[in-house]
Symmetry: D2
Subunit: 481 residues, 4 copies
Amino acid sequence: MALKTRQEYRAALASLRPNIYKFGRAVTDVTADPLTRRVVESHSRAYDGAHDPRRCELFTCRSSLSGATVHRWNSLCVSADDLVSAARFKREMFRLTGTCTGGACVGWNALGALWAVTFEVDAVRGTCYHERLRRWALEAEEAGWMVAGALTDAKGNRSLPPASQPAHYLRVVDEDSGGIVVRGCKAMIAGVAASHQVLVMPGTTCREADRDFAVAFAVPRDAEGLTVVETRRPSDGRELEAGFDVPETGITQAFLLFRDVYVPLDRVFLLREPEFTAGLIRYFTANYRAGIGACVAGQGDVMIGAAVLMARANGLPGRVFRDRLVEMAVNNETTFGLGVGAVALGRPHPSGVWLADPLTAHVNKVLVSRLPQETRRLCQEIAGGVVETGCLPSSADLDSPEYGLDLREALAGAVDGETRARAARLAEWLTVGAGVPGCMHGGGSPDGARAVIRSLLCLDACAELARTLAGIDAPVPEPEA
Amino acid sequence: MALKTRQEYRAALASLRPNIYKFGRAVTDVTADPLTRRVVESHSRAYDGAHDPRRCELFTCRSSLSGATVHRWNSLCVSADDLVSAARFKREMFRLTGTCTGGACVGWNALGALWAVTFEVDAVRGTCYHERLRRWALEAEEAGWMVAGALTDAKGNRSLPPASQPAHYLRVVDEDSGGIVVRGCKAMIAGVAASHQVLVMPGTTCREADRDFAVAFAVPRDAEGLTVVETRRPSDGRELEAGFDVPETGITQAFLLFRDVYVPLDRVFLLREPEFTAGLIRYFTANYRAGIGACVAGQGDVMIGAAVLMARANGLPGRVFRDRLVEMAVNNETTFGLGVGAVALGRPHPSGVWLADPLTAHVNKVLVSRLPQETRRLCQEIAGGVVETGCLPSSADLDSPEYGLDLREALAGAVDGETRARAARLAEWLTVGAGVPGCMHGGGSPDGARAVIRSLLCLDACAELARTLAGIDAPVPEPEA
Amino acid sequence: MALKTRQEYRAALASLRPNIYKFGRAVTDVTADPLTRRVVESHSRAYDGAHDPRRCELFTCRSSLSGATVHRWNSLCVSADDLVSAARFKREMFRLTGTCTGGACVGWNALGALWAVTFEVDAVRGTCYHERLRRWALEAEEAGWMVAGALTDAKGNRSLPPASQPAHYLRVVDEDSGGIVVRGCKAMIAGVAASHQVLVMPGTTCREADRDFAVAFAVPRDAEGLTVVETRRPSDGRELEAGFDVPETGITQAFLLFRDVYVPLDRVFLLREPEFTAGLIRYFTANYRAGIGACVAGQGDVMIGAAVLMARANGLPGRVFRDRLVEMAVNNETTFGLGVGAVALGRPHPSGVWLADPLTAHVNKVLVSRLPQETRRLCQEIAGGVVETGCLPSSADLDSPEYGLDLREALAGAVDGETRARAARLAEWLTVGAGVPGCMHGGGSPDGARAVIRSLLCLDACAELARTLAGIDAPVPEPEA
Amino acid sequence: MALKTRQEYRAALASLRPNIYKFGRAVTDVTADPLTRRVVESHSRAYDGAHDPRRCELFTCRSSLSGATVHRWNSLCVSADDLVSAARFKREMFRLTGTCTGGACVGWNALGALWAVTFEVDAVRGTCYHERLRRWALEAEEAGWMVAGALTDAKGNRSLPPASQPAHYLRVVDEDSGGIVVRGCKAMIAGVAASHQVLVMPGTTCREADRDFAVAFAVPRDAEGLTVVETRRPSDGRELEAGFDVPETGITQAFLLFRDVYVPLDRVFLLREPEFTAGLIRYFTANYRAGIGACVAGQGDVMIGAAVLMARANGLPGRVFRDRLVEMAVNNETTFGLGVGAVALGRPHPSGVWLADPLTAHVNKVLVSRLPQETRRLCQEIAGGVVETGCLPSSADLDSPEYGLDLREALAGAVDGETRARAARLAEWLTVGAGVPGCMHGGGSPDGARAVIRSLLCLDACAELARTLAGIDAPVPEPEA
């Protein structure tokens, strides 16, 4: 039975080798340690959904590989409907957790991109990457794994390619008949602490000189030689405190140090194939950026809710902020709906997976670098100064025997002081705290998206339309540079 | 054979009774009079497309009623694909004409909305509106008609309902066994001069007191008692001049004075059914506002082209304006793609037509009230001062024997003076001239869209998400007003 | 007595040689011809102000040259207060006319810039330009002249300098002991038809190879060899009609063809001094762009008024649009107040005139390329579809004996039909008609402003602040290109 | 000698009674405790400036009261130049600290507002508040005090006035011949831990029923009965850590619990004078909101610097981000320059102090609620994902003996890993950390500003301008509600 429960999920995580670190210390049990238990809780809610009658239709689906009912994030998206459901699932996960659940997202998206590319590589090279990937995908769906996806390299000097600064990119450093040895660092990888496996692929297009960097594979999160260092997030120190200054959910992002990790060949899905990396990135980003609008829409839903809570706590009726709440909704539905539009304008790949329209998807990425920030600003504008800088005493101070009651009285509005404080802390967390999902750069920068748009934009065709309408007979050529 | 040629189209128009006026005079032949020949030319290009191998797949389709190949704008949209193709068709028409071709749009959309509502009315009332509409639709597709859609009433004082100011709304004033008599004014109706028929429906929701206003029907454009007064557009006077200061395409908007027009019953599709008007408006606006993003995207494509032409004419390479051209494209693809998203998120109506998702569609309307204006601003910023206020001598001055050559020399850039002037005039026409399509208010105001969004926005559900995440147990109710 | 009346002003204009053309025909009397009488009416209101007790304090001032009371636009601005008053005067002129009165603006600003530069040239070269300018300025104030300022050359290919394409720039082609001969074209010059004199200066920085283009001088508007061709504006054809479809005020922009115009030396204020042109442009643009925010604020005031009129005509109380009207006011006061800030941050030039702070002034220019467009959009959003594309029948149609009364009834709202139509036509004229002032590119493009900002922006100083705060000891140099 | 050194300033602070709390514990020495030492360091830099030859002209001035040279923040602003210098001082303080130094700002501004109002009250009532204030101001300048200003009450239910919920506002609860007893809470008060005194005034307009709340006075920060509870800020937990994850400067905001504090009469500057509170708020906000644009401009300067550092660290030349850096500068100079414009458009109060123009000042507040957020977004867009969510390992992890060197290697770019990390942490702190200054709501909400703009906006006058230009004779009245 492919569907797992929250308990099964956590038991599997707890059994992994403790190779995760933060603040200089190791995390023994990710499900219990305050450094990681919130990200595990967030992902647990994805498993809950599979068993919740109101959500199971969205959170599970029929596998195109096995025909079994599987967690949706373990499935291949083989139709526009599948990708739209993926978007709905992501939005719902943000609504349930207030933030990103990267372990149920990036690896899933990488699987689809690799599905298409391994199919292409095999057709050209006669290799067997696609079959290896199929077997691993079947294992993943059967095990109900969370799979973190690892693309972004450390990158170092952005004006230099991988081959000029190997230390800043993950690469193959050795191999034998049974497998390969990889070394290097993947940076800013979301949800690793909540995942069982990591699916690794190049984060940038490789040229011929970068052959050793053109590698994709899967490893268990606790593979020998793999060290995971979790990064900080705004106000993450609160996760170590008692009290309610931070919610019970969360996301993490990690640096993955591959210190000569051995990967058996049946888990290697691309090896020294630089000419296929451009396509891999293209497929990954098209689908990812179609979906990311759903993520920020889900967080925007929670921001609307937090703003409404604060307005009510302040004794102000929603009508005062009516236009701004509509504006927030406009932002949410724009990124969500445009992502759906990108999917609907997409096409099937010969391998079976559905690929979103890249132009529309990258346009959505540009919007995602702006609209959620405006939604956030509106949330802070409605919620008031208490949210803008988290400006209220700590949970501990509200419990002070010396002055806690005075504070609680002062903080009360149309609701009691703690309720108002909790609402404010949520709004802070969402807009300027650890709940900020990082979607502006997640899955690549807006500049990268603009570069793709530029490459897809046919200025000459537009100029011809205009020339015809203007009744100009002579050609109007682009000036020499 | 349902597909008509440009010549057949124009011949049919030319045979109509001359009931169109502008500047106080009658238009005898709409296909030849400079007051109307540009709008006829625009619509002629829709017929051309049916016979153009590159466009016929988009410009024609198989009728769900007859199985025949028909002009796409005569078809019912019975699937999401149909509505997406409708959006593509609209975008392409803007690309071919630089502006709106309302005769191939509003009536088409009204047909779909009436299709659904007549189905509902008949089911409840046992009436036969749906069958009447089906017959008329079959006649329309067979004849290959252009059908203007007339919704907007004169409205008068916006704070009063129709029944309080009957002179400002179209209404039934009499009837006999064979038909009804209608009186009143429909305002700002696009493309009438290029249409064979007018499909009329209420422009606002009617209450019980407004029964006589809840009427829908079709009439030939030259029906007895119908007087069409065309409105002005910016710089429309140029259409009466020789020279190139205005393109050869165009759109018109008219006031339709119904001065006791008799409509036979077989063309009456709704009669005194106020309770169904809300649904009719809802269906009309959902689909219309899903599609309108395609219109402005098409005009935006031409604005990109005009900006590129001007940059080239000024000797400046596109790279100087690269980021702004990308920005224009982002605006275009956002409204286009979000409209597609609204369609994809829609659902089929039991009558067979596809209805776009209203929330997403109305969000798109809000965007359409902003993004094209920014695209326009960018076009003017790139194109320079010559465009911003049309600041160059008239075509007539360029031909002056006394100083025309001096002007042409002065106006030349990287291209000759007339080419630069033509490009500038196109950009002017698109951004501050008769080519401005009027999409901000076309099909209803952005405020109307915001009102719908507000009604569809579930603040309480969002507040509950937030309350749960914040760990608040007590309810946080909306304050009493 | 330096102060002139409207009658004296117009008499002086009427006596000039008829060298103005539009639509291929000559204008005999600028004060009466419908092609030019509106711009003359606009400027007449500046003279009215001098004799209006409510405005004379703003519209006149004490000359720093003669001590006499003069029209403000004939004075030198020798203090921050003078420049702020100039800004207030410009705003008030927009409020009185709804558009630009360029004859009371550009020449005035050029005078100040030349005042400073001639002072500098004389100090370095031992020339006597400053004294010549002083005498001309005294004559101008005594005569109460309107003085159009002519900077912008035809420019041709923007990537080439003047010397590479002499036909596209004004230049000295000959000289004798008494004067110089100039040839070429100045383009888009505002208010010439309403001016007595034209003050000419370079529109771009000249290099050594461009010596002949580095020339400044004054000529009467009807100088021998000077041909003025007025350009079109949106909907300018309406100015030839009867009826109310266009207001009674207006602005013009002209191409000035200098076909070997002889300028006596006492009117030559700069001759072949390329190294001083950069400063001249710098002084001109700093003060001009500080003031231009006042212009668009004045037009914005009228746009607020037009929007309010339309809302009232539609029977809608102002409160419905309250937030948007505030937003329009925010835009108006931002550009106005920032211009005042630029003045207050300025400094006196050794020659006596006050120079605005260039960084702030150019920032204001960037805002002027955006905020008024948003104000305009809001005006159209409030005013409705009738304004967006001018969508109502012509004035002539409202007078039609056949259907005029029906139209008037249809157009009526909370006011009669003609009142509503007049309000709509004003809003159209302001936002998409001949009243659009052209401030985005007027006085130079926003790109030019951004280039100046870039040159004034000290990135290294900012980086040092950040480096210190970050506690970074090592230098962080700019990467090699 | 009024000018104090950093050492004298800190010694005076250290001698105060320990009445400051955070996280449930008391701060014994604000100059040393990690909870407060950063805010003290920030304010120390204001004293440094007085003794720094490059800054002393700006950081000190001649007292209009005593003629002595004093710290600028202890002076009265009696001219437009004084207020512009105040703005420059604020901007420079942000540049030196990266954040707000509220102890050198709010009390200073309250002093000016009270100066005007006490003058007015005394004139009407024959009281002696003005003289009391003068004496206290002299003492403050002589002592070189930092003076926190306390306006904002806890406010509770925003739809109820103070008298309906006394617990949420500061009020007089008792008095005797020598003084008054005050009780209640002031919330979100900046810089208290770095201040010697607190100047208290009403934060809202009082009506007659709110007499007891209409009170203004000064108390030492360690007054008996006053308990200060510092609030949290984003990522403030880092201030308790070793390492470089947070800069050495900072700001604090506190809740001030007045638990029956006795204030001697010579420190009471307003007592039960509700009718003067509206003016007090008006004067305070006009000057405060004129100046706040300088604060955010200063922080924007640092954000430009941080973005440049990150770009360089990433090996990217500034030219890649040229347009965005210009955009950031446009935002900075807009709010700075508009504040200067508000000052220049102001007027002197009869009491001697200069009052900024309220319309322009409140418009600036609206801009301050938007432009810095956009600047912040641009900083994050340029700086990359590492900044957006603080996504890099902690300082402690970089020092890990187990994997620290690997991380440092991975993080290196065109600079070493720690340098890049430090730059990223600064950008994070500025945009989503404890350095966010809180200017959107600081000194009142943007909604409050909009309400003032609305009240100052003369819609009828604008409508009259439009009516005249449109040639409408009849009045066009506002519809009845």
